[in-house]
Subunit: 253 residues, 2 copies
């Protein structure tokens, strides 16, 4: 019997946003690795074993999962959202590249999911309707000056920006600094969306301007979307405003 | 009876990648607007009516859909992938902003889906594992010089690039020019993924270097992912290589 490893994205947290492909992958696995709160969302059978770990131990978790798969188990590594976006798929690849040759021979599958920025955008309108980027604000794995440089480059080029990992107890000042940098490049009227727990019962979607953007509105479960100079707000009577980025940009030649 | 409009993303085309939320939205709608091939993927009841249109008529389709919803129908506007990424959600918002006040009072819902770059990335490994962007290569709605400027900015800043709408009969030279520009900024050894019809029976995922990237490999159903200078290829015996972008970037301070 040969083991295999499936890296699954369960989507933003609303069970109706988990794909049948992800559920099927979970169904046919017998050992589960992941951050505890993500594993808690699964409905596992008594014969399915779970190995929870902290969300800062991605590489150690990846190695454990690969070792277990190499021993013949059907292993599932669980990410929220999409496993390829600031999540476990890259950690698994890193571990394979640095690991024993046998790990390259394992059957590896990655099952995509709805990533947070798509779920937040859907609740706000269509802020990602034109060119956009996704940037992790965590300086645990890259130097802060590189993050600043990237923010200036993408805002200056007119891309909408989705910020992942905007803030945590260990990284309290980075989001405020990012807003300050963006206020040097973008109009202060640019829409900013704080999208917390999109699609879940505790969802909170807030739309403010860049001038008003207060980093304390964000927590670890928040994806922050900052518009481009083209992004617009449509006020609606009795409903939340719509935020969208038009399909066209710049002067037509 | 009051009408409503739901903009649904059905995912990249594999039914197992369509969320239950999208299926439920389709189930409770009675008139469907969309590009013909996307509507063809739905299994509709006899009482559900479809209005197919060409893929270059997004704004006209949006207005038709809003008018129909305002007349009291339960309308579903269908996109492949995610409706918020270079798709119908932005066209609907544009039409609402320019339309009669009654359209702002409609119940509007956007249901997210797995967008093409996530499905392609999953099949290749984890090329979007670090900061990345999505850029439409279509110059129908923005001037070509702006696209060139954005490509230089994001490649220079070290972001992985997913190109949507890379090529069409009416836009035959843009992808080749984009590769030429990127060869001025990025190492020629940078991995390039041509991801065609990811997750569908006619799927074709090809990995080459930027030096070898031939625009003729792409068609309208292709999403092209160009790595950053950090993106790596892991060769595997008897299996397709893995392409991934490490979670860390730049010099650690």
């Amino acid at each position: 019997m040969s083991g295999q490893l499936i890296v699954v994205g369960t989507g933003p947290g609303n069970p109706a946003q988990t794909t049948p492909e992800a559920l099927s992958a979970i169904e046919r696995s017998n050992v589960f690795f992941g951050y505890g709160p993500y594993l808690d969302r699964l409905q596992l059978r008594p014969d399915q074993r779970r190995v929870a770990s902290d969300n800062r131990e991605e590489l150690a978790r990846a190695k454990d999962a690969l070792m277990t798969a190499a021993s013949g188990e059907q292993v599932c590594v669980v990410s929220g959202g999409d496993p390829g976006v600031f999540a476990m798929a890259a950690a698994i690849c890193e571990a394979i590249e640095d690991g024993p040759p046998a790990w390259r021979e394992l059957h590896l599958e990655v099952v995509p999911g709805v990533t947070a920025m798509l779920a937040v955008a859907a609740r706000a309108g269509a802020p990602l309707g034109h060119d956009f980027c996704a940037i992790s604000l965590s300086d645990n794995l890259k130097p802060w000056p590189l993050i600043e440089q990237r923010l200036r480059a993408v805002a200056g080029a007119g891309l909408v920006i989705a910020l992942y990992n905007p803030i945590s107890r260990a990284r309290p000042w980075q989001l405020g600094t990012a807003f300050a940098i963006l206020r040097e490049v973008l109009p202060w009227s640019t829409p900013v969306i704080f999208g917390r727990a999109a699609g879940r019962p505790d969802e909170a979607i807030t739309v403010v301007t860049l001038a008003e953007a207060d980093p304390n509105r964000a927590d670890m479960a928040t994806c922050v979307i900052i518009g481009s100079p083209d992004t617009r707000i449509i006020e609606r009577p009795g409903q939340a405003p719509l935020v969208y980025s038009p399909r066209s940009a710049g002067e037509r030649l």
